[in-house]
Amino acid sequence: MEERMSLIVFSGTVDKLMAASILTTGAAAMGMEVEVFLTTWGLEAFRKDSYKTNMRVSKDFEDYGPVMMEQMMAKKVPSWMDNFKGAKEVGEVKIYACSMTMELFGMKLEDMEPIVDDITGVATFVERAKEGRITLFI
């Protein structure tokens, strides 16, 4: 078994991206290899510059959205994108784009934030995840 955490990021709301980014950072800080697979709304959230204007919160809690954003600013909490970038600095973190979503949304690697390393398919994800210790779906 490898010291690896695989994370599927399906969600594109700030609240869930925040959770995904902190888990990634924590695992990377503890010396685990982290592989993040972006799909559907998670992939959309990594489109170039999208993070700068993304204010979406999960529908069930959308009334908390403004308060949450305001608290994060007031308490100077780093954004989810800052966390992912920080995670890459302190550990082995790879971020992959789901090729199916790329096709569906008509995206190319150049359209993505530079932090996205490559495009892979589901079989790669399964192969990598099964050897790792932690697999999460966000």
Binding site: I22, T25, A29, G31, K75, K76, P78, G86, V90
Partner: protein, 82 residues
């Protein structure tokens, strides 16, 4: 008797007011920049980091020199062992 709380360090990082994983990240970055044998202190007021910091230092096989509670925060001191 030398003041326990006043272990002199090469680098002091004030991470008070920042929360998990902030202080831990600051510690890791600080350690990376330190030469082997160098010492650093991280000041943290975050309860999560109080557990994470010593755990990381141990995992990374550096020398944990102690956690010194102060007024509203803790000073964690470590030496880069390798």
């Amino acid at each position: 008797m030398p003041e326990q709380t006043e272990i002199a360090v090469d680098k002091e990082i004030d991470a008070r007011g920042s929360f998990c994983p902030g202080p831990l990240m600051e510690l890791i970055r600080g350690m990376k920049a330190l030469p082997v044998g160098g010492t650093l202190a991280v000041l943290s007021s975050d309860p999560g980091s109080a557990k994470d910091i010593p755990a990381w230092i141990q995992k990374a096989r550096h020398e944990f020199l102690g956690a010194f509670p102060q007024d509203g925060y803790t000073r964690f001191v470590a030496r880069k062992a390798h």
